[in-house]
Every structure is written in C-alpha cells, then in structure tokens.
Symmetry: C2
Subunit: 168 residues, 2 copies
DNA sequence: AACTGTTGCTTCGAATCCGAAGCACCTGAC
DNA sequence: GTCAGGTGCTTCGGATTCGAAGCAACAGTT
C-alpha cells in the first residue's frame, strides 16, 4: 500500500508519469482498435466490448443491463442506446428477466458470436502490434499483475450504478 | 520483443488480461477524474489535459494546434471545438503563428494557470485514491517503466494527424 | 511565375455520449 | 395491505465527438 498521509500533496513524478502514460496508452490503443473494428466488422469499441463480454465472459451469453454497463464502464443511458443498435443489427436480443420484471436481460445471438469471431483475428493483431509488441517477454504478465488488482480496487468502490440519486 | 510469428493467432491469456485490465482501469480512472474536474473546476477531461500540457509540458505555455491534438490523442476537429470553449472561458488564447500563416498557436493565460492550480490538489487525491493507492511501493514506478516505452512506440507510429488524405 | 501536392485548421453533418428526470416494479416497515 | 423508498431501465435534451470535405497557406518543380 502507498503511504497514507499524503492527502493534498502534489503527485510524485512516478505517479504522474504512470498516470499520464496509462491514459495515453489507453487512448492511443482505443483509437487503433476502433479503426480496425469499424473496418473489419462495423463495430464501435463499446459494441465490441459488449459482445466480447457476453461471448467470452458469460457462460450463458446473457447479462443484465446494469451489470453490463458496470462491467464495461459505461453510462446506463449509453448502454440503452447501444443495446438498441446491437439489437437492431441482430447481434443481441433483449428480454425482460423472469424473476425481476424491471430488469432486462441481454443475450448474444449466434450472429453476434459470428461477428465477434470474424473481428477477433484482426483485433488480436492490432493489440499485438500497438501494445504487446514493444514489451519484453515477461513484461506483459507483469503488467497484467500490476493492473488487475487496481481494477479490482476500483470496481470495489461504489460503481456508477450506485451513484446516489439526486433529491427530487 | 514479443515473438514475431504469431500473426493471426488468438491472444494469449496474459495479453488479453493486460489489454482488458488496461482499458478498464483507464476507463474507470477517467470517470472518477472527470467527476472531480467538473465539480472542482468546471473542466472536462480533455480540457484539463490541454491546460495541463500547456502549463506543465511547455516551457513557453504555448503549442501548435496539431501538436496539442497529437499530444493529447484527440481529433483535430474536436480540438478546434475545445480550444474555442477554452478561449471563450478565457483560459487560453489563440493567435496565428508568425512564421507559418496557416498554423495557430494556443497559449495558456494566467487565468488558465490558476484554474489548473485550483484543480490539481483534488485531482492528485483522486488519482491516489483510485489508482495509486492499491499498489505497493515500487509498483508505481514499475508500471511507469512498463508503460512509457509502449507509449513511445505508439506515438512513433504515424499519428492521427498523418493519416493519409482521401483521394478527391 | 504557374502548377501540383501537402499541411494546418475550421466547418459541416451525423453519430454518440452523458446526466437528469421519468416510469415501473420491487422491497421492507408498519 | 399499503406506503415510502430503492432499484432497473428508458427517455429526453444538450453537449461532445468524429471523419470528411473545404479553405488557405506553404513548398517544390518546372
């Protein structure tokens, strides 16, 4: 754990550099990936994320809207919009949950799985070329080991869906 | 360097995990930061990036539009829009460059520097709480050491401003 | 100088995004 | 039960975003 009592001090150089480097890398990578996704499968980055999460992350291929939104770091309203697009494209189906009448379950279709499969090889290639390639052999694993706990820590904090409602 | 001949193979688990973790962390971090910036100084994340780059990264406090856009990973048209907002808010000034009549030099104003200074302490705090805190002492530095070369590698590739123009 | 291609920025139109507000359902206290 | 508050999603309005096209200035060639 980092030292505790640095409340309002400016960031140390390492922290600053890590922060800016992280954001830059993510931004550049997102861009490269977005381009490839659009060309290869007419998908936006969010759409890819959503499909990938359903196809790879969920055993059943379905998930609640809220969980999807939180999992993908996205606003609820934005998700409604994207889910609508994906459904119109036939890559996904929405249905009310059996147990809770409010919630909507999103399920990937076979067509959705095909789309992901179609896009994946080129996707992997971009990731490798832009992101993985310049790292030495063990570095990728080390990076993952560094970042995964950070992600877990961030996810543990009240997620966007838990944002307190405004008083009326 | 990673092995060369893995052209269309799927990504190995480490690569996948590093990729997703990176994007998630960046997304979550951006969100937290955006919230703080809006409340503390009425700035969007891009606006903060722009001001920070001018205030901290440039000795003169000025930079060309294109260099700003590339530095901040942003579309040129988006930059035009944001530069307009920042100028209207008095945080920045635009002026044609003396040597090249086409290019526009953006300079941060004193008011802009004040704004950055005002926002920075809370900003640092969010970064620490969300991002730096869960890492052990040397980890931050290690992370920076891992990511900086990747950023440089990505920047070396033809940046967005060099995207080939469409034939007419 | 005239021509051609390039580069820097802005404008344009359409797509996407977000937060706030709204609606419906669910849950617990009474 | 019923009432109050919480939760899940969508709708709404407005802001932001991007790529393509447009415009002006530059640079090199002839």
């Amino acid at each position: 754990m980092a030292r505790m009592a640095d409340a309002h001090e400016p960031l140390d150089p390492d922290g600053l550099q890590a922060y800016f480097a992280l954001m830059d890398v993510a931004g550049l990578l997102k861009h490269g990936v977005e381009e490839q996704l659009r060309e290869a499968g007419d998908l936006s980055y969010v759409q890819f994320q959503l499909l990938a999460r359903l196809a790879l992350g969920s055993p059943t291929g379905s998930e609640r809207m809220t969980d999807l939104a939180d999992g993908v770091v996205y606003s609820r309203s934005g998700l409604t919009y994207q889910a609508g697009l994906l459904e119109k494209a036939g890559l996904v189906v929405r249905a009310p949950s059996p147990d809770d009448e409010r919630s909507v379950t999103v399920s990937i279709t076979d067509e959705g799985r095909e789309r992901i499969a179609r896009v994946m090889p080129g996707h992997a290639e971009v990731i490798r070329r832009l992101f993985l390639h310049p790292m030495a052999d063990g570095d990728v694993r080390r990076l993952a080991e560094l970042l995964v706990p950070v992600r877990d820590h961030m996810r543990a904090a009240p997620p966007r869906s838990a944002a307190p409602r405004r008083k009326r």
